[in-house]
Assembly symmetry: C2
Homo-oligomer: 405 residues x 2
Amino acid sequence: MDPSPAELRRLASLSELACLVADGSAPRRGALAQATGLSRAAVAQRVDLLIARGLLVETEPEPVGRGRPPASLRLAPEAALVAAVDLGATHCRIAVTTLDGRPLAEQARDLDIDDGPTRVLGAVHELIGKLLEKAGRPSRDVRAISIGVPGPVEASTGTVIRPPIMRGWDGYRVPEFFAESEGERGRKHELHRADVLVDNDVNIMAFGEYSHRRDGEHLLYVKVGTGIGCGIVSGGVLHRGASGAAGDIGHIRLPGHDDVLCHCGNSGCVEAVAGGKALANALKEAGLKAEGVRDVVRLVEEGNPVALRRVREAGRQIGEVLASLVSFHNPDAIVLGGRLAQLHEELLADIRAVIYRRALPLATRSLTIETSTLGERAGVEGAARLAARHLLSPRGIGRLLTRPE
Amino acid sequence: MDPSPAELRRLASLSELACLVADGSAPRRGALAQATGLSRAAVAQRVDLLIARGLLVETEPEPVGRGRPPASLRLAPEAALVAAVDLGATHCRIAVTTLDGRPLAEQARDLDIDDGPTRVLGAVHELIGKLLEKAGRPSRDVRAISIGVPGPVEASTGTVIRPPIMRGWDGYRVPEFFAESEGERGRKHELHRADVLVDNDVNIMAFGEYSHRRDGEHLLYVKVGTGIGCGIVSGGVLHRGASGAAGDIGHIRLPGHDDVLCHCGNSGCVEAVAGGKALANALKEAGLKAEGVRDVVRLVEEGNPVALRRVREAGRQIGEVLASLVSFHNPDAIVLGGRLAQLHEELLADIRAVIYRRALPLATRSLTIETSTLGERAGVEGAARLAARHLLSPRGIGRLLTRPE
């Protein structure tokens, strides 16, 4: 099944050309020869192949005076579609996008991750089908399905490992669900031909924000919702760690709160003190109507002083943990997301104050600390970008070029 | 000065071949053609060039029976030498090594980093010269000088930036010292032709331990000496952060010690509570003879119960900080170095206990926590490996092949 080294080298060359065209750095045959050192004949042979397979498009400009300007190349973003899936604990968002990340159709819906992989992925499969119908595209155009799930993942195999939530998913290999032939379980769509990428949901959000910003190579995406988690981009790539657990910062110990028990079995975890669920519980105990994070946000927006004080305190507590991580990782940017980040004025000011006071000046001198601009779309945006990067990689382009007829 | 894209591509190809031979993965012409997808003729042309320039050596084996086994290739490790320099606050260690990291001559000596760049680098320059004489090699054989310094560095330019110690070095570009022609300042050696790489000292130690271990891609090297610092390897490369400040963990706040003032201007920093200097001060206050880290080590080795209790307490405090970093970074290994790490039985047990208790099970299930096996040689080992990686890279090999006669 694996391509030979010679074939891999050819695919690496095709991948290089496609990427140079896709990011706009070499949009003509001459520029490609210049950028790669390939001969004009070699560029022509490869570019012609990419055009023939529908991955690149070449436009002949109108003649100007007596000369003819060189034809320009661009990626055919619709040559392959991507299904970008962001699975949360109680909801999901799915987009069908082009290779350059443009959504053709997108929809969010509620679901319960604890229904287990078969039911949840069945619903995902069905929704992808509906979105494809809406976009007027056949399911065989989808060449990659990129999924974020709310738990740790071994990205190389797409296996969910020891998730604290996600009942019934431990050890489940997500790609196998889609690999099964379409006849089974009465599925109508040909998604089994797509490559399936699986990652932690906060990781795909981090990659979404990173792709969107394009300034700096090192980014932390901190999600503050029911719990607290972090996605890490180091040197332009996702840092997943030795066992896919990197960024699990919700269980970092917060000084002075050893009386607060966390669901992980330890005490004093920042998530158990300053996470959205903890805040809701605290407000409820104070006699306010607060069942979950939504209520915390509502109470603050209504100007409730008890809720406001508690959220600002949480900002300082989260800032304390992030200050340590800034000293360690020295990122270009921290992006704050999740439902509690909607309260940016209330939460962000205190987080910033603590980080700038506690972390070393050298580590913060060019540090940006902001709330997410992508908001709820960060996940599908990141999933789509990861899938596009995969499809234009040597292995991905190999699969694209062997499109089944 | 910059090579053309076509030239860069040729150099990338030469670099690939040299690396495949160097790491033993393709030690024959046929295997190189197989691994790279290049034609046999193209491999022959490139390999012949690398042999002619003295970078590779080909050995014809004795004929066996009537057949002749294929000739085998290996790197000529003496084709280029590396000067590996580990500068500390009060000492330095320098090795002149071959391309595969074998030291031909090595020496440690005391020096005071606060003497400023001109005097310190002058002494380094002189010692490199002495080591070359000892090794019987001319100074023009040195093609890279790789230096670790005890402060933050912008690695791309080799500039020291805002060092907390290192008086007189702020803003100094280390490579410029070596670039000046030999006639000046009466230098006798031709080191101005060498490429100069500069990095933080803990970074080069981390890379030394990483290169030595070869298991896992993610490693934290934690140096506990007078202060506390950390070098980070993520995905097999050094993570230096947005401003070269990554790994500066000595100023992470330790819970419950806000009364302890740190030299950074904040209070409660782990270095100010559990670093070697802090321990020495505490023992001195307790009436013991303890001027510095050496005395702390001596007292513990003598079985002094007060010193032992204080060191074990420091182990728990350092472990507390490292537990947070394990949850965040999820490394394969933590390697403990620095003078206090000599007390491995006393220090390591408590660090381990806290990490395994506090960090999430998924992040620690395959985590190794050990003291350095390279010890005081970690720095020069890492510097030599970084230099070799540079010299076999496309740009480095380009410089090697244009050896001045």
